[in-house]
């Protein structure tokens, strides 16, 4: 018995020696698929996506019209590419450059309740890490913050064991044509291909959802494509809001109570959350059976759970929604018009609403006909906070909304359970302070009933407008057909009558004149 116990202790101690914190970088090394680096094709597109998202967000912050260069260069090894993304954003101060690019989970946007493209501060450093893992090469960053400041050049590596940046080279460089901005160069293993899931498509869709941006794209074949700016109007700067009690999870509530500066629970609720007045805070406390003056720091799990349950039972006003920045109907239509040559465009922006305490807003634009292929299924472009979503189309609530819409009502054919069949592009944008993705690689939007409902309502609005257009078009075509009918068949009516009744040519002509006049009149 005694011996056994000793042995067990030995095991535990030995195990204890092996147990250690793993760095987030190590975790990523093993689980790269979680962030969208599952295969070489996706790795290339994810890298570009992260860099472009960052550039657009950066420009947004200083309210400058984005001027972005995206280049993919082939390396000698055909599985390797160098990705270059350059912007005219604010640039990054020297001291921050290594951390921003070579430390995972470093950023300003994490857990911030504000509509932005990136959220976790993981994407760009994950790309750097991926490049390093697959090619062993370091990433090259150039950044400049202003006219009077020099540009800094860094070559960076990530110390995987400690999730810390490792500076390979650092120097001041001249950057003549750029007053402020950032240029990132990452070499990585990837695969370039065309089609629905390609980088080409991603850039094109980005240009549609961000018509205020000017994007120069140079794919591996070197043939530069310029996506011109469609509007000079910058998107409204999204506001930041405090979390709404309905959107909070128990663990988050506990953490917030630990770190708050508030001395009383009532103060905590009124200051850390939106839409909680002192009265509402008191109501929550009363329902939880906790005095309003209690100190939030002292609470354990039991109290927190009581409060959590009390929140659910308390009626709290929905969060304010003016923090959202929709693309707007006008600008989204402009975006589609400049990239898609169609014959009919329509758009609708739904009023903002709320899911689980999170404000969100849905907007949809259609492009119909023109150069679009008529015998294929409609194409759905999905956007979350202006970022195109390319993968996992079938798992996305946007797609679900499209499938559940009765397209036949709008003169568009649709097989059961399939996308509508028409020369149609359906662009759906969801703006939210927190977009509920189904996974960290941010590819599909989760099926919240509130979101699905808004998507469907927006589709119906655009659908009705499309239906009106299609009916009008059909009517015009019918008119045209009728007109040709008159010309074609009236001579046969008169001719047959002439034969039947042995009429004179004059009578025959007379019949034609009368009938033409009558039928023309009838048409209008």
């Amino acid at each position: 018995m005694v011996k056994k116990t000793v042995k067990q202790v030995d095991h535990a101690e030995r195990l204890a020696k092996e147990q250690k914190t793993i760095s987030v970088s190590q975790f990523f090394e093993r689980n790269r698929h979680l962030l969208g680096f599952d295969n070489p094709i996706k790795a290339l597109s994810t890298t570009i996506k992260e860099l472009v998202d960052n550039s657009l967000d950066a420009c947004q912050e200083i309210q400058v019209l984005p001027e972005i260069l995206v280049q993919i260069k082939k390396c000698k090894d055909e599985n390797r590419f160098v990705v270059i993304v350059e912007d005219n954003g604010p640039g990054i101060v020297k001291a921050q450059i290594p951390k921003v690019f070579a430390k995972l989970l470093y950023g300003s946007k994490f857990a911030k309740m504000q509509q932005s493209r990136g959220q976790q501060g993981i994407g760009v450093s994950a790309s750097v890490l991926y490049g390093q893992l697959t090619t062993g090469k370091s990433s090259k960053i150039t950044s400049r913050t202003g006219e009077k400041k020099p540009a800094h050049f860094y070559e960076l590596h990530i110390d995987i064991n400690h999730n810390e940046p490792e500076v390979i080279q650092e120097k001041e460089v001249e950057w003549l044509n750029k007053v402020h901005g950032t240029r990132v160069e990452i070499e990585l293993e990837g695969k370039y291909q065309r089609g629905r899931l390609s980088v080409d498509e991603y850039i094109k869709q980005s240009a549609i959802a961000n018509p205020h941006a000017s994007i120069t794209y140079i794919p591996p074949d070197g043939k530069s494509i310029k996506y011109k700016r469609g509007t000079e109007v910058l998107p409204k700067e999204p506001g930041e809001i405090k979390p709404h009690p309905y959107g909070i999870e128990l663990g988050v509530l506990i953490r917030m109570m630990k770190v708050t500066a508030s001395k009383t629970i009532q103060h905590f609720f009124t200051h850390e959350f939106s839409r909680v007045s002192s009265n509402v805070a008191k109501e929550i406390c009363d329902k939880a059976g906790i005095p309003v003056t209690a100190k939030p720091h002292s609470f354990g799990h039991a109290e927190a759970d009581k409060l959590f349950q009390a929140i659910k039972k308390t009626k709290i006003m929905a969060p304010s929604t003016n923090c959202l920045s929709p693309i707007t109907e006008e600008i989204l239509t402009k975006g589609l018009k400049k990239e898609i040559n169609a014959e009919f465009y329509t758009a609708t922006t739904r009023p903002p609403t709320v899911y689980r305490g999170m404000p969100f807003q849905v907007e949809i634009a259609f492009a119909y006909g023109g150069d679009l292929p008529g015998d294929e299924l409609a194409k759905v472009m999905r956007f979350a906070n202006r970022v195109p979503l390319q993968y996992m189309q079938s798992g996305c609530s946007i797609t679900k909304g499209v499938l559940q819409t009765a397209w036949k009502n709008y003169g568009v054919s649709q097989s059961k359970g399939a996308l509508p069949s028409a020369p149609l592009i359906i662009a759906v944008h969801i703006a939210s302070v927190w977009v509920p993705f189904t996974s960290e690689s941010k590819e599909a939007i989760a099926h919240y009933p509130e979101i699905l409902k808004e998507v469907k309502l927006a589709l119906q609005e655009c659908g009705r407008k499309l239906g009106i257009y299609l009916r009008r078009k059909k009517r015009a075509a019918d008119e045209e057909k009728k007109k040709s009918y008159i010309v074609k068949y009236i001579p046969h009516v008169s001719g047959a009558l002439q034969e039947l009744l042995a009429l004179s040519d004059k009578d025959e002509q007379q019949i034609q004149v009368i009938l033409k006049a009558q039928l023309e009149k009838e048409r209008s």
Partner: protein, 378 residues
């Protein structure tokens, strides 16, 4: 000249009175349209609707009768094509009648190819317009100079048909017992025929195969009857031939068909009461005294016949008959029979009787069925 020409000369003598009447009707109708146009009024054509929903069935009268629903085709943008085609078809009919010529439905379709934009793309389109004209004047298409493609039925048995020699105009007696393994073929026009017979009944048979069997074994001799092969849905001429023969000689008519929905409603029902499509002519082209002796749904059970499963179209046809066919609505026996067949989900062909021996049909089945009128359907 060619023999065909001679035939027409004979036809001319006979057809004159009727042709004149038709020509006048065509002329009146065209004049009316012409006058309306000149007065700047919208010209119209009216037709009885040719469908089952425009017929009623009175068992006492015995045929589908129009109930007077009328379709008006006013000349407007939507109807101008059909209007032009109908006038063209009337013109063609006039041409035929004046020249004492005839055209088959197929020929009429090809003639339309000279009409430029008003030509027909497919023959069904031209057939429909022809039927429209026919219905508009409430006459038979033969009176318009149009004849059907198909021949109507084969006849064998105890019958002498008195026809006229086309060249001499003299009576010509055709003995239908003297065709051996062949048969007398019903002409397209049967109005002038006379009959001599001592037969006891007429047996109208759906398939040529069954007719052959009965003919080969001289069933008409042993049963003292006249065999007529309908070859599917009986043509107007075949129906008229049976009708005239049975009326003249007061002979009962028994229909012997497959046991399926097509036989019941496309073949037998059309033979007995006419069709919805030619409702304006049913009075003459029907055989109200016909009775259905088999194959009934009960026969399938009684004779343990090999079957095939009903197809979806059969079931649809059955439901349609129960819901929309005035004939079925008048006859409870038919409703029961349809329901029995749908319930069993099986159909049987008349040749399925061969399971019990090739000649079982003439030795056992027909004698038994003819004796027992309780096994028939009305």
């Amino acid at each position: 000249m060619s023999p065909k020409k001679t035939v027409e000369v004979v036809r001319k003598k006979k057809a004159d009175a009727s042709s004149k009447k038709t020509l006048t009707a065509i002329n009146d109708s065209a004049t009316d349209i012409f006058k309306k146009i000149m007065k700047k009024k919208s010209p119209e054509m009216t037709f009885p609707i040719r469908a089952l929903n425009n017929v009623k069935y009175d068992p006492k009268k015995g045929f589908f009768e129009l109930i007077g629903k009328i379709k008006t085709r006013a000349l407007n943008v939507n109807t101008v094509k059909a209007f032009a085609q109908t006038l063209r078809m009337m013109g063609f009919s006039k041409e035929l009648l004046e020249a004492n010529d005839i055209a088959t439905k197929r020929e009429a379709y090809y003639v339309s190819k000279n009409w430029g934009d008003a030509r027909f793309k497919e023959q069904p389109e031209s057939d429909t317009v022809m039927d429209d004209v026919e219905a508009m004047f409430r006459i038979n298409r033969e009176q318009l100079g149009f004849i059907p493609e198909e021949k109507g039925g084969a006849v064998a048995g105890q019958l002498v048909v008195v026809d006229k020699d086309p060249t001499t105009g003299r009576d010509l007696k055709i003995d239908c017992t003297k065709f051996g393994s062949g048969a007398y073929s019903v002409p397209t026009s049967v109005e002038h025929l006379k009959f001599e017979t001592k037969a006891k009944f007429i047996l109208a048979i759906e398939t040529a195969g069954m007719f052959e069997r009965l003919n080969k074994h001289g069933y008409w001799k042993s049963a003292n009857c006249i065999l007529i092969s309908m070859g599917g849905v009986p043509t107007r001429a075949c129906r008229r031939f049976i009708r005239r023969l049975s009326d003249d000689k007061n002979l009962p008519v028994y229909a012997f068909c497959d046991g399926d929905m097509y036989a019941f409603f496309n073949i037998y029902r059309t033979l007995k009461v006419g069709s919805g499509n030619a409702a304006h002519l049913n009075e003459f082209f029907c055989v109200p005294r016909a009775r259905f002796i088999g194959i009934t749904p009960q026969d399938i059970v009684d004779y343990k016949l090999p079957t095939h499963p009903l197809k979806d179209v059969d079931i649809k046809r059955a439901k349609d008959a129960l819901k929309n066919d005035p004939f079925v609505q008048q006859h409870k026996e038919w409703q029961k029979a349809i329901q029995q067949q749908v319930k069993s989900g099986q159909r049987a062909e008349q040749q399925a009787l061969a399971k019990w021996g090739l000649n079982y049909v003439l030795d056992k089945y027909l004698p038994q069925k003819l004796k027992n009128n309780k096994t028939w359907l009305p």
